[in-house]
């Protein structure tokens, strides 16, 4: 049953909300009593499920407008929309493949922040958590276009954090390690027992652990400004 929106409950907007890390973030914030709005190519399990391609600036602006119409405010943006490709050497990264990855992961993050920051500035507070990747902290082979895009998200988020440092809007990054989501194919390198044995925790991260990190930054992160929190099972220390 649809609960009537109340102004005193904070509002989370999550992109990529239909699956994996995004869906786990929606679940975590909802369990903490937040209103949830999801933006995804597919329908998501949120109070307000919006269908939009994050690489489309005007579609994102329209979706964020609907969130404001429904709830009147935005307290948290989680930019999680993305996709993953591996096993592709640099010479095989076509211009089309490169442009698409950059436009979804980096462009999507930028588009969402551009739409949400003015809303947060009206209330003077908020938290933005950009989902990057542990791969961007230390590099990775055969998924360079993905890692480059996630690395760009790091630079963008740190800079937006500085741009907003004088406000009470905090921008930070969560850089997940290899996480057990549908983005990792069943034959992914990151699922191989030989690889998992190299991790101090000897296992994949689960989506709820990423959501817990996001939740922490949303509720207790007011002194974090442009930082990277990486729940990665020890993949990068």
């Amino acid at each position: 049953m649809h609960e009537a929106p109340t102004a005193d409950r904070p509002v989370a907007v999550v992109t990529g909300a239909a699956s994996g890390i995004g869906a786990a973030c929606v679940d975590r914030m909802r369990r903490s009593g937040w209103h949830t709005a999801g933006i995804d190519l597919n329908d998501s399990d949120c109070e307000l499920a919006l269908t939009a391609d994050v690489s489309d600036r005007s579609a994102v602006a329209e979706a964020v407008g609907e969130v404001v119409d429904e709830f009147g405010r935005i307290d948290l943006l989680v930019s999680a929309a993305g996709y993953y490709e591996e096993g592709i050497e640099v010479a095989a990264i076509t211009v089309a493949r490169w442009n698409r990855m950059l436009s979804v992961i980096l462009g999507g993050t930028v588009n969402c922040c551009a739409a949400v920051v003015p809303v947060m500035l009206r209330t003077g507070q908020g938290a933005i958590v950009a989902i990057s990747s542990e791969l961007a902290l230390a590099g990775s082979a055969t998924d360079l276009h993905y890692v480059a895009a996630k690395g760009a998200v790091l630079g963008f988020a740190k800079s937006l954090a500085m741009e907003l440092a004088d406000t009470d809007i905090r921008v930070n990054v969560v850089a997940p390690g290899p996480t057990d989501t549908p983005l990792l194919a069943s034959d992914s390198l990151w699922r191989q027992p030989d690889y998992l044995a190299t991790l101090p925790l000897r296992r994949l991260v689960v989506p709820s652990e990423i959501a817990d990190a996001v939740h922490f930054l949303a509720v207790d992160g007011s002194m974090y400004c442009g930082e990277v929190l990486s729940p990665n099972a020890g993949a990068v220390i």
């Binding site: 101090p200 990190a213 929190l229 729940p231």
Partner: protein
């Protein structure tokens, strides 16, 4: 059960209160001889163990006393610290050793003392309160920064070595915190407390000093269930101080 060192004031005090409110039984340690440690222990229903962790015998004594009264240490918050500020060339060897002995060696021994019980349990959390200065350095605080950088390296090594046994280590690198220490810093510079706070705020992009409770919230995260995939990391609730304020 959680053991918090340096708990008579500041971040350690706030951490003990926070962990107690999160449901931990808490053992508090400090060198302090005044009544604050006992008051804190009474307030949270924990126990106080007064000891100077730079004394080689202190670690086992603290951990055994804690275990006898409240059971094995499941969370160690390594927070106690000595700090003296002086220009590098004027620093006396005993100032250097005091900071290394308390901050680094004291916790080295304490970690060694808590690990056997954590191993037996198959789980444990070690939360090391390092310092932003251990990441980025600070003028006139080279020994302190070196001791804290040592703790960060210790955290990372412990993460790799003990992670497979279920013992998870992480560090926190806060920067300017609104605690009693600011009065000491102000006295060192012969300025008022308000002037000291403003000087520090000017170094922080968010222009904010952290409260002890804000840092304690990060300790609670690293001691709690929500950080189960975070290992060997350095969390910096520092207002973005890695870069100087534009």
């Amino acid at each position: 059960m959680a053991l918090v060192t340096g708990a008579a004031q500041g971040v350690g005090h706030a951490t003990a209160l926070r962990l107690a409110s999160d449901g931990f039984r808490v053992v508090v340690n400090d060198i302090s001889g005044d009544g604050r440690l006992d008051d804190l222990a009474e307030r949270i229903g924990g126990i106080a163990v007064r000891a100077d962790i730079s004394e080689p015998a202190a670690a086992l004594e603290i951990v055994e006393t804690a275990a006898d009264r409240l059971g094995p240490v499941e969370v160690l918050v390594a927070n106690a610290a000595a700090m003296a500020m002086s220009p590098f060339l004027e620093q006396a060897p005993d100032e250097w050793w005091r900071q290394i002995d308390v901050n680094l060696s004291g916790h080295f021994r304490l970690i060694q003392a808590v690990i056997p019980a954590m191993r037996a349990l198959g789980r444990g959390r070690i939360v090391i309160v390092a310092s932003g200065w251990g990441v980025i350095g600070h003028p006139n605080a080279t020994a302190y920064a070196a001791s804290k950088a040592g703790l960060i390296a210790l955290t990372k090594g412990l993460g790799r070595e003990l992670g497979p046994q279920g013992i998870v280590s992480n560090a926190i690198a806060p920067s300017y915190i609104d605690t009693e220490q600011l009065t000491v810093d102000a006295d060192d510079l012969s300025i008022s407390l308000d002037e000291m706070k403003e000087q520090y705020r000017e170094l922080v992009p968010t222009h904010q000093l952290a409260t002890a409770e804000q840092i304690a919230a990060t300790v609670a995260f690293l001691a709690g269930p929500g950080s189960s995939a975070v290992i060997g990391q350095v969390l910096q609730p520092s207002g973005g101080v890695t870069r100087t304020r534009a």
